[in-house]
């Protein structure tokens, strides 16, 4: 290659497309939790790998933004690294792994442990935007249910869980009611992250590329995880602290360490873990 690179529009998508997505985003923010249809485009990534998130990010990003991309909390997995370098190249933005420094955080299924601030935007890559999909396969019917605020069916799912397992067993994509009105699938984030959505200072944008839907949870919005009076919502908990940084307040991943079934539990949020580690061992260099 002799240095020749194909020319793309700023942030890859053409301006008409970005305008269309921004219109959908404005509507989504105006009606918290409502799924807005949009004309999903092809992006250099297979559908189901985060095309919705990439399109939302492309529509809102500008040269002054600082982008962080995480994949299950980690900054250093293939998908996160690729998406970060993609936007670095096509949108000429600074990228970071530091949650506090980022203005836009594109994520697949985690919300950072570091509390989000006013002005930050979370962009989620959503596989199935419809929380009622596996209970009611007809799209016409689920739209009707959203329109008429008929969410009894979602409780049937929770009832079945309690009847079968003695507790609400759903541990990710745990359904929430946004602003007291719309039932929303918070994308497959662990239920551990649900409380972070309630009255969050940041703007949360959800993009489902394959399903062609955009929805949003604006800052300072009530987000209630569904439950029964006598079986209240309980986010997932962990018995042991992170094996690397000792944190007791974070979501842990299981890591297999040898061929004999050995495993350890460590923070899924790598930025959080590194930060904790540095606090504990200020004299050490970063590994």
């Amino acid at each position: 290659m002799n240095g020749h690179r194909p020319e793309y529009n700023y942030a890859y998508l053409d301006e008409q497309t970005k305008r269309m997505i921004r219109r959908a985003l404005l509507k989504a923010v105006a009606i918290p939790g409502f799924q807005v249809p949009f004309a999903s485009r092809e992006v250099p990534l297979p559908r189901g790998w985060g095309t919705g998130g990439i399109q939302v990010t492309a529509a809102i990003i500008g040269p002054s933004d600082v982008l962080k991309v995480i994949d299950q909390g980690a900054d250093d997995t293939t998908n996160a690294v690729s998406i970060r370098s993609f936007f670095h190249r096509v949108a000429d933005v600074e990228t970071t792994t530091d949650t506090e420094a980022a203005t836009i955080i594109q994520t697949r299924h985690r919300i950072p442990e570091t509390p989000l601030k006013h002005g930050q935007i979370m962009v989620y890559q959503v596989p199935i935007p419809e929380p009622l999909r596996f209970l009611e396969p007809r799209e016409t019917e689920t739209r009707q249910m959203h329109a008429l605020n008929e969410y009894g069916l979602m409780y049937v799912k929770l009832y079945e869980d309690i009847a079968k397992y003695g507790r609400i067993a759903k541990s990710y994509d745990y359904p929430v009611l946004v602003n007291g009105r719309y039932l929303v699938a918070p994308s497959p984030t662990p239920s551990f992250d649900n409380p972070k959505l309630h009255q969050s200072a940041a703007l949360h944008l959800y993009g489902a590329g394959r399903e062609k839907r955009i929805y949003a949870i604006p800052p300072h919005t009530d987000v209630e995880s569904l439950d029964f009076d006598d079986y209240p919502f309980q986010p997932q908990r962990f018995d042991s602290p992170c094996a690397l940084c000792g944190a007791t307040d974070s979501y842990l991943d299981q890591i297999v360490v040898d061929d004999n079934g050995g495993k350890l539990y460590a923070c899924s949020d790598t930025d959080h873990c590194r930060r904790n580690h540095r606090l504990e061992h200020p004299d050490e260099d970063e590994a």
């Binding site: 008929e150 069916l153 049937v156 009832y159 079968k164």
Partner: protein
């Protein structure tokens, strides 16, 4: 509640499929606490009439009025979808011929009975479960089958489960489409017994569609005979079946096999 007017009143109710009439110019009243049987041969428009009355099919002609529990009389054809669905959840029931149409086959019996409660805003698991258990017992399903799915139930049990699911919210009117067809005779008899006792206990109004005159005889107060989409005779069940006026009704009654 005033009882000087019917719960449900239809005038000139018609529905057509293309250029064929499903039902045509039907006048029918259903009073509180009364069981009305709609009988007739296959294809006579019984089910279409039931669906048009309950607004499961739309777009036909005629007036249908319903008196709400508040006493207010409403016009069903002009009712908004949301209001109609609220009626469905709180005041009406519909028992299908095939239980699989009226049940969620992969949700447990308890979940099936509890769903209408949850749809009406019940949010206490213990209470939902208690009421489900009571209802299962009332329809003679052993309480220890509460966590089994209907696919594991016999035909008669499924039908009883469907009835429990419909009655759990104490509806005021229940539409039944051939509730006992497809069951064997002994199960039919027990189910009819059950329906009859529940109906009188709860003071329900019921419209039951059946091709089986014995069903009409056993559970209904009044009978409406249909043919080619029109009502050809109606009256007290005993009168219609013992002393049929219309030639077609005479034919229908005389064609019943007697043992």
């Amino acid at each position: 509640m005033t009882t000087d007017r019917p719960l449900l009143r239809a005038r000139g109710l018609s529905h057509r499929f293309g250029n064929r009439w499903g039902c045509r110019g039907v006048d029918i009243d259903v009073w509180p606490g009364e069981v009305v049987a709609v009988v007739g041969e296959s294809g006579s428009g019984k089910s279409t009439l039931l669906n048009a009355l309950s607004r499961r099919v739309r777009g036909g002609g005629g007036d249908v009025e319903y008196q709400l529990v508040s006493g207010q009389v409403i016009d069903l054809p002009t009712m908004p979808e949301g209001e109609l669905r609220r009626l469905w959840r709180s005041e009406w029931g519909f028992v299908h011929q095939n239980a699989a149409d009226g049940l969620r086959m992969h949700v447990t019996a308890g979940g099936n009975v509890g769903e209408p409660l949850m749809a009406n805003g019940w949010r206490n698991y213990g209470q939902i479960r208690d009421v489900s258990t009571q209802w299962l017992e009332r329809v003679e399903i052993p309480a220890d089958r509460i966590d089994d799915v209907p696919t594991a139930f016999s035909g008669g049990m499924r039908q009883r489960l469907q009835i429990a699911r419909n009655l759990v919210v104490s509806p005021r009117i229940v539409f039944m489409d051939e509730p006992t067809s497809g069951l064997d005779v002994s199960v039919q008899a027990r189910l009819l017994d059950l329906i009859r006792s529940l109906v009188s206990e709860l003071g329900l109004a019921v419209i039951v569609v059946t091709h089986d005159l014995a069903v009409a005889r056993l559970i209904s107060h009044r009978t409406v005979v249909m043919r080619h989409g029109e009502v050809i005779e109606s009256g007290l069940t005993d009168r219609v079946l013992d002393d049929p006026g219309a030639p077609y009704t005479q034919l229908l009654v005389s064609s019943v096999l007697r043992g």
